[in-house]
Amino acid sequence: MSSVASVHSLWTVAAGAPDRIPAPRIEYAQLSPTLIVLGAAVVGIVIEAFLPRRSRYYAQLLLSVVSLAAAFAAVIGLAAGGFGSSKAHLAAMGAIAVDGPALFLQGTILLVSLIAVFTFAERRLDPAAHGNRVDSFAAQPAAVPGGTAEQAAVKAGFTTTEVFPILLFAVGGMLIFPAANDLLTLFIALEVFSLPLYILCALARRQRLLSQESAVKYFLLGAFSSAFLLFGVALLYGYAGTVTYAGIAEVVSDGAKQIDPALAGTMGNDALLLIGGALLLMGLLFKVGAVPFHMWTPDVYQGAPTPVTGFMAAATKVAAFGALLRLLYVVLPGMRWDWRPVMWGVAIITMLGGAIIAITQTDIKRLLAYSSIAHAGFILAGVIAASRDGISSVLFYLAAYSFVTLGAFAVVTLVRDAGGEATHLSKWAGLGRRSPLVAAVFAVFLLAFAGIPLTSGFAGKFAVFKAAAESGAGWLVVVGVISSAIAAFFYIRVIVLMFFSEPKTDGPTVAVPSALTSTAIAVGVAATLVLGLAPQYFLDLAGQAGVFIR
């Protein structure tokens, strides 16, 4: 009865005084990072449409690098402007938060993407086809693999320069994701960065069957999970009557000012809240690749073009964990006692599952996929801390981890044989003898993954475990320690393979990369060592960034 009236009044108000509807305010300056990237993406499309094929590659490369760099500069500017701490607030009518975590994560994502662009643009590794340098993306993705159309495309020296704008779109979505301050924005951002990734997965130049398969798997499962997430959003909306984080949080902690009777009906119903929250969590856990929502990770990581894999593994995790943090710390702090135990379970099975399954992997990319799962578990341990330390430790871990991952996958692109990248572990035997430098670099990354002291991996692991232990999750730390012991085993196995086993005669060759990939790897190593030896500065950054706005 009353609900009907309210709806009716709605119409009358609408009809009555249109001028009372407030005009939306958009703080362009504070949204500039996202806007720059998305704008650049659009420009990229235009370039594809109008520039001649020859010049596209360079134009796109230039555009992406410049735009990402500019966006990063903007983030720095905002942070310097105090938006990270004192002036942190909600922009775009509360849809997007501009605060410490958001800026820190956006900065990380932008740097990672910048390096990813380098690996995307690498054109030295594959042997030149018909005199044209080629990158690791299909000449004509639409063409049937091995078909005449494809051969023609190769002959003509086509290259899929669209990857750059697509990448930029994905980055745009990722920038919004951790900053999203209401569930709708969250959902949209999720789709905005997922859809481009689906496409990128399908674009491998070699082993296109695998590539397409990975794309379809990723797509179907991704869509499936996002449907769940959306349903969760619906339920939460039903529970709270709003989708803004602040609003929901208020209702959750029973702090709603005036409860209109319509709300009272649903608000009491915790089932809506709990189920909705659970589904929402599931959607995010899928993106971070936590057990049991990890199934897509190995297949997609293996099938996708390695630069894309590196980008996904690094950037997606950052964005997704950012969103997860914001959700748990801003929206659901009121129900901490509900989600913490659940997350405990998830964290434990994720750490152990990832580590254990990885032991018997035989493909380097799948191995790294499982290791990324295990790492997701470690980060979850930090998330569970539910303390300021927890936030900052997670932020630090994400930064540290993403660079290591990117570097590792960049190295994977170098080891090649006739069939493209030689990802089967048996092929890596004796790599240390054939090209010690590459092997050594990869070993450094592996040691960082394993969390050996003096590498960024150790600092990160220590940070999250410390936070967890301080919040009373001591046993979680023990489990984490055990699983990192298990994990150590397979990292070491790879090192043994590279250094202590005799090189095979038909072993792969190590391609000499151009400056692009070299830069990527170099940055990876530098980050690994700097964050390992002198992490204090970055810990400070993360520490200052450790406050959410609500």
Binding site: R433, A469, I492, V496, F500, P535
Partner: protein, 555 residues
């Protein structure tokens, strides 16, 4: 104040570290240059270590001297705190002393095989010596660290170079050819790494726990040993019994793996068996000492109550190590594995001495660390020279060496006698002190441990008899005696064994105060003799004796 003066401790660790990088950078063709560079760096380190030993004032009040302190990772409560007590000084000196010999002994161990295809990228020789220096640097700094976290980091990081040394370089062509040897090597290396890594990670959990506790009670988490000890003394910091025991176990486990203590020992025979003998020396004489050293410095000082709680079990385990290691040594067919098991037995003695909680026991244990380092080095290196001549590690392949290579045999015998701790050689003093220290608190355990000296005699003499005496084996016939380089390696070690056996005072003077401090932290006193004798100092005349109660009455 310490910051103003020349950072001696840092320098001592930095020299080999820089040397490692420099050595690694030497181009492939300049192999010999790399060797000399490494040798020079290790000698420079030795020099600095001696400077430490001389700058160190045994009498001083403060527990740690030559301290350096800088902020490092504030968020983790970690500082770059260095400082040495007598024990550390002794062990740093030992490390710095042994490394040059290790390098010299391994002079040709990493040369590329004859007929190997030249590869301008692959530089095993440079790598070998660089890794040795890297290990030295890390060991030194972990002896110097007075910050638990700082120690932990290098305690762990040390594994990586060791791992490459074990897995990457081995004796030429073992009994079953190069291929087989390579697989065994990598197995040994992985085993070494996993055992120690698991230990280290469990310790990591304890380290984090320690931080959580300090952060919770002191406001800001800290890892500074002194700060924690003082806080505990002043009652600011109180650990619950359960917590303290858990943390203690976490720490002790890692050190027991490293030491190694039965039943966590099985990695050592593999590692020492497969590695080249200089590397084996590095493992048992240098790296493993970090474990026992850490028990003394961290386990006891951080968790006194838990230490004395765990003492009975640990003593029994140590006892088992002593007897078990010796018995298995008797049963070995492989020279290097035999020495490895002998070391396990010796580490049993060291741990026994540490946890006997008497000044003799702990002083003895510290001396034992040093002496065992020297004696094992002597024995193992000579064994290495022997093996390099015949190309086999099996005892059965030798016989009558004494006839063809008397000097080699003689040095081998001296090393062996040191291993069975013959009086007059350094190890005797430490072993006897450990036994006395143990006996005075736990007579039964002391007595059983004494059986170790018989077993030691057994395995050493059996080894010597089977390899050196008897009719000359055909394959041994053409064996040449020690070369100059090899003599230069062995002679000083033997001289040192003799000197420290006759005049250990310099060492004991440095060590005693540190031991006293440790005991005071653990709050333990030496048991009093049942009879009070006012001993006329070193004098034949009878001094009269008084019953205890009379003394009481007199008071």
């Amino acid at each position: 104040m310490a910051d103003l003066s020349f950072p001696l401790l840092t320098a001592t660790a930095a020299v080999p570290a820089v040397g490692a990088i420099a050595t690694a950078a030497v181009p492939a063709a300049k192999r010999t240059a790399a060797k000399w560079l490494a040798l020079l760096c290790s000698l420079a380190t030795l020099g600095l270590a001696l400077v430490i030993a001389f700058r160190f004032r045994p009498g001083a009040k403060e527990p740690f001297q030559l301290t350096e302190s800088h902020a490092w990772i504030r968020d983790f409560g970690v500082r770059y705190d260095l400082g040495v007590d007598g024990i550390a000084v002794a062990l740093i000196a030992l490390t710095a002393l042994l490394i040059p010999f290790v390098i010299l002994a391994g002079w040709h161990d990493a040369d590329p095989l004859e007929g190997a295809t030249p590869n301008h990228r692959w530089r095993p020789t440079q790598g070998f010596f660089a890794l040795i220096l890297a290990v030295e640097a890390m060991v030194v700094i972990s002896f110097e660290a007075t910050d638990v976290f700082l120690f932990y980091i290098f305690f762990e990081a040390m594994l990586i170079p060791m791992y490459f040394l074990i897995g990457g370089f081995g004796d030429r062509a073992g009994p079953h050819g190069e291929e087989q040897a390579a697989t065994q090597r990598s197995y040994a290396a992985v085993k070494f790494l996993l055992y120690n890594l698991v230990g280290g990670l469990i310790m990591l959990a304890a380290v984090i726990g320690l931080y959580a506790v300090t952060a919770h009670q002191l406001g800001a988490g800290t890892f500074s040993l002194q700060q924690i000890v003082e806080a505990r003394a002043s009652g600011q910091l109180t650990l619950g019994t359960g917590t303290e025991r858990l943390l203690f176990l976490g720490f002790f486990f890692a050190f027991a793996v490293k030491a190694p203590l039965w039943p966590l020992h099985t990695w050592l025979p593999n590692a020492m068996g497969e590695a080249t003998s200089p590397v084996a020396v590095l493992i048992t004489a240098v790296v493993d000492k970090v474990g026992t050293f850490a028990m003394l410095r961290f386990c006891l000082q951080l968790f006194p109550a838990a230490s004395s709680w765990a003492t009975p079990v640990i003593l029994v385990l140590a006892l088992i190590s002593i007897v078990y290691g010796a018995l298995l040594a008797v049963g070995q067919r492989d020279i290097k594995r035999l020495i490895a098991y002998a070391s396990i037995s010796h580490f049993g003695f060291i741990i026994l001495g540490i946890f006997a909680m008497t000044s003799q026991g702990q002083g003895g244990a510290t001396l034992y660390m040093v002496n065992h380092g020297i004696s094992t080095a002597a024995l193992m290196l000579v064994a290495g020279f022997l093996i390099s001549r015949r190309g086999s590690r099996l005892i059965a392949d030798y016989g009558g060496v004494q006839k063809v290579a008397p000097v080699l045999a003689g040095t081998f015998l001296v090393g062996g006698l040191a291993t069975l701790s013959l009086p007059g050689l350094a190890p005797f003093i430490s072993e006897f002190l450990v036994l006395v220290g143990t006996f005075s608190r736990y007579p039964a355990i002391g007595v059983i441990a004494t059986f170790g000296i018989v077993l030691a005699a057994l395995y050493v003499l059996v080894l010597y008899q089977r390899t050196m005496t008897g009719p000359v084996k055909a394959e041994v016939g053409g064996m040449h005696d020690l070369k100059v380089r090899e003599l230069v390696v062995v002679a000083p070690l033997i001289a040192l064994l003799l000197f420290l056996g006759v005049y250990p005072k310099p060492l004991t003077d440095i060590v005693n105060p540190a031991v006293g401090h440790t005991l005071s932290v653990v709050d333990k006193k030496d048991p009093k003799p049942t009879v009070q004798v006012n001993a006329v100092p070193g004098h034949g005349r009878p001094g009269q004796a008084v019953r205890d109660q009379d003394v009481e009455a007199a008071k």
